[in-house]
């Protein structure tokens, strides 16, 4: 049995996950918690948010995120790639900045428009 805190939403349910019993989750207030609890013990994933350099924009940095969650172990490698990237304004929210990063099937996308 593992006790973890759900991070899917700010409610922060205290989950108990039973590894012996097909990762059955208790203590969750919604179904997302059940999925999270199981995933967190088998293959923890996170969304990464950061910024990249932008030329000719209203600010020197453009905020970006991974379009979906990525395995927790890849965070450092993804940050290295993000820090090597530079774009030029204008950019629209949702624009793909780095497609299929590290072959995860997940893109790095802009989280704001900037001209």
């Amino acid at each position: 049995m593992a006790e973890i805190i759900c991070i899917v939403c700010p409610v922060g349910c205290h989950l108990t996950v039973d590894e012996e019993n097909d990762y059955k989750v208790t203590g969750n207030q919604c179904n997302k918690g059940a999925i999270y609890g199981k995933q967190e013990l088998q293959n923890p994933v996170r969304t990464v948010t950061s910024t990249i350099k932008i030329k000719a924009g209203s600010h020197p940095r453009l905020p970006v995120k991974t379009s979906d969650t990525i395995p927790k172990g890849k965070i450092t490698d993804i940050m290295t790639l993000i820090n090597q990237t530079e774009v030029t304004a204008p950019v629209s929210v949702g624009d793909v900045i780095i497609p299929n990063i590290l072959d995860t099937g997940v893109d790095i996308v802009a989280t704001r428009s900037m001209s």
């Binding site: 991070i7 950061s50 020197p60």
Partner: protein, 418 residues
């Protein structure tokens, strides 16, 4: 002449203006001090916003942009790079900007949405020398996320508020070493999920019941001294520990920015440090409304948007009816045992449709407890709650049925262990 002037173009101001527009208000102006709309959301590049309001997880800039986009289809006017110097009881708004100089604008109603400010080193009277490298977590957030400057390499965070926790993770991702997160209280001031995904994920130690007793460094910060505190929050001699670091981020609380509110004579609440408001977010001056972090500091922007929509709708109704509902009978909601604040503080029954959501914070940690609505010791309604902490704002509904049942002038909200 405007129907409504909204002071502040952050999440609260945007939601209030849009809601007023949807409810029939025509001439609306948003006055914003910064060069763009969106407020603090622009620098909150992390995700976790919008789960309640949009039913999906967004980053701060995405959340802001959704609201800013909605403005485009409206007649709402925006004045950027403009500061409001003063507002008056008869709804005059004095502004100043580079472009237009000094202006005096007349409105029929005003929504106050100025947000809050971070407490600084001075506010917590931290001892030690005064080197560079000590800044608020929000200032660091702006440097890193918007301006593109890294603020340090070996970082200590004082306070475990959400911005501090978020910045701990952010500094690690950008290559810094975060050595400690130090919290005076025996519990964290931030959301539990942020302890998990910002500290635990990166093995950053959280020291509860600890504080900083000394700061050294001539030009740049060189070290801090951390000590354990007793249950009266006094440092315990002999527990000191020196941590070498070049940067100290402060996440030691937020204070609503209420100079305008106080100067115009709005009645304030000592606990929230914001205005006292009625059920529709109207302040003690009729036709002036307040919402968002200027009213009380929220944990979630989703709640700011919801509260501000209420304020905007009420402002639209005020403009259309021009009736002075403030003078009708009201009942007062009191903070009882276990409650640090509750809001709205006053309720006019005539204005309640089905229910009023009461927002509150508890003053200590509770595992399983009962939150009860009482009148002179008699329990009128009760709600079972789990895992309450001062860092998390909670809500209970106050139903119209209950308000109609008896002729009451006061209600107490009380928490007790189940």
């Amino acid at each position: 002449m405007y129907d409504l002037i909204v002071v502040g173009g952050g999440p609260a101001g945007l939601a209030a203006a849009l809601s007023a527009y949807e409810n029939g208000c025509e001439k609306i102006l948003i006055v914003e001090r910064d060069l763009e709309l969106g407020g603090i959301l622009n620098q909150c590049i992390h995700n976790g916003f919008g789960l309640h309001y949009f039913k999906e997880e967004l980053t701060g800039p995405e959340y802001a942009e959704r609201f800013i986009d909605q403005l485009k289809n409206t007649s709402i006017e925006v004045m950027l790079d403009t500061i409001v110097l003063e507002i008056t009881e008869d709804k005059q708004v004095h502004t100043m900007s580079k472009e237009n100089g000094y202006q005096l604008l007349q409105s029929k109603a005003i929504v106050l949405a100025m947000g809050c400010r971070e407490r600084t080193r001075g506010a917590i009277q931290m001892p030690g020398s005064r080197p560079a490298g000590i800044l608020t977590a929000g200032a660091a957030q702006r440097y890193v996320n918007i301006e593109g400057y890294m603020v340090g390499k070996k970082v200590v965070i004082l306070g475990s508020g959400d911005i501090g926790l978020i910045m701990a993770r952010r500094m690690v991702l950008e290559g810094a070493e975060v050595l400690a997160c130090i919290e005076l209280m025996p519990y964290s001031g931030g959301l539990t999920r942020n302890i998990v995904q910002c500290l635990d994920d990166f093995n950053i130690p959280l020291y509860l019941s600890h504080t900083i007793t000394d700061v050294t460094g001539k030009d740049r910060l060189e070290s801090i001294t951390m000590a354990k505190v007793d249950d009266k929050r006094k440092p315990i001699p002999g527990t000191e520990q020196v941590i070498d670091c070049d940067t100290l981020l402060l996440s030691v609380g937020l204070i609503p920015e209420n100079e305008l509110s106080r100067n115009v004579g709005i009645q304030m609440d000592q606990q929230t440090r914001g205005a006292m408001v009625y059920e529709n977010m109207e302040t003690s001056i009729s036709g002036i409304f307040a919402c968002g972090n200027v009213l009380h500091v929220h944990d979630l922007v989703d709640y700011v948007s919801a509260e501000s929509s209420l304020a905007g709708k009420a402002a639209a109704e005020y403009v259309q009816q021009q009736n002075n509902i403030a003078e009708k009978d009201f009942l007062t909601i009191n903070n009882g045992q276990g409650i640090s604040y509750i809001l709205p503080q006053k309720i006019r029954k005539e204005n309640v449709d089905k229910k009023v959501d009461l927002y509150y914070r508890v003053n200590q940690v509770y595992d399983t407890c009962i939150v009860s609505i009482q009148h002179q010791g008699e329990e009128l309604a009760k709600f079972k709650r789990k895992n309450l902490a001062p860092g998390e704002m909670e809500t209970i509904p106050l139903r119209k049925k209950l308000l109609d049942k008896v002729d009451i002038k006061e209600l107490d909200i009380v928490v007790r262990e189940a």
